[in-house]
């Protein structure tokens, strides 16, 4: 190889070396930030952390948000559009006093939360209070609730103004023992309504479920949902269509 060829080769490789240097620098910066921010993966308290200014481009946690404690307002007013399984397999509260209160409050660009929000261990009265308030574009979310909690604030305002919600699922039947209000969600599917009605704890009575008026037709036209609807009424749940 002549000197000219070598110089040509070096010149050709220079951008690649430069680009690799940039990427290495980015990785180093990413690791340094998230290692510190997430305390090398040990952080469990994200109260009011990913709020205003956070987007899909910036919300790329290095460590999954799986075992959690305080999540009050964690994503409040953020511009994140989707919480994926890259960020969490399941957002699982680990302590009795932990909660998702106002967790996604005013996240109007949020469309889907892929991981289940697992509050089985949380026994406080405000666990899902206004959790999805004004998530006007949220289409899908799955919850795991605690059947032992009867506090009327447990799910109060959780789905207020969730006008795009199509799929609301509860992982466990008979796991909701307090009032539930999804009146602002006219697009709930039959399978979703079936899940909601199944989740009403048939061992407690005198509780109420409020659905959007549109859900009445969906229930009436679906054999599975109609059956569970009747079971819930027979168990003592009063169901309002607003």
């Amino acid at each position: 190889m002549t000197i000219a060829d070598k110089l040509t080769q070096i010149a050709a490789n220079t951008p690649l070396i430069y680009d690799k240097g940039i990427e290495d620098g980015k990785d180093e910066e990413y690791n340094a930030f998230w290692d510190s921010f997430q305390q090398n993966g040990t952080r469990e308290n994200y109260r009011y952390t990913f709020g205003e200014g956070w987007t899909d481009a910036t919300f790329k946690p290095k460590y999954k948000l799986n075992r959690l404690n305080y999540m009050q307002g964690a994503f409040r007013n953020s511009s994140i559009t989707k919480i994926t399984r890259d960020a969490s397999d399941a957002m699982t509260l680990k302590a009795a006093a932990s909660m998702f209160q106002e967790c996604f409050y005013l996240c109007s660009q949020l469309t889907e939360i892929e991981p289940t929000l697992d509050a089985r261990a949380a026994t406080g009265g405000y666990v899902f209070y206004q959790a999805f308030y004004n998530c006007t574009n949220l289409k899908k979310v799955t919850l795991r609730t605690n059947a032992a909690v009867t506090n009327e604030y447990y799910l109060r305002g959780a789905f207020q103004n969730c006008s795009s919600l199509e799929e609301l699922y509860f992982t466990d039947s008979d796991s909701v023992s307090c009032a539930l209000d999804v009146r602002y969600s006219p697009l709930l599917t039959a399978r979703s309504l079936e899940s909601i009605l199944s989740a009403l704890n048939k061992n407690v009575s005198g509780k109420t479920l409020t659905l959007n008026a549109a859900s009445r037709d969906v229930i009436n036209n679906d054999a599975g949902a109609s059956y569970i609807y009747a079971v819930a009424l027979q168990a003592g749940w009063t169901i309002a269509f607003a």
């Binding site: 009032a179 409020t210 009424l233 009063t238 309002a240 269509f241």
Partner: protein, 56 residues
């Protein structure tokens, strides 16, 4: 086989049914609940109550 009658209360035009806690144009009574627990309010009052709740 069990026979179970579903009782639906349906509000008059421009009215909303409530027992003071829940509100709806149609209320399907749960077993043990009674229509005597419900009364009608004007839709405007319902909207005002909902607005107050939202602002609370």
């Amino acid at each position: 086989m069990k026979k179970f009658e579903i009782i639906n209360l349906i509000a008059d035009e421009g009215k909303i049914l409530t027992n003071g806690k829940i509100y709806g144009r149609v209320i399907a009574l749960g077993n043990g609940d009674s229509e005597e627990n419900y009364y009608e309010i004007p839709e405007e009052e319902y909207k005002r109550i909902m607005k107050e709740r939202e602002e609370a």
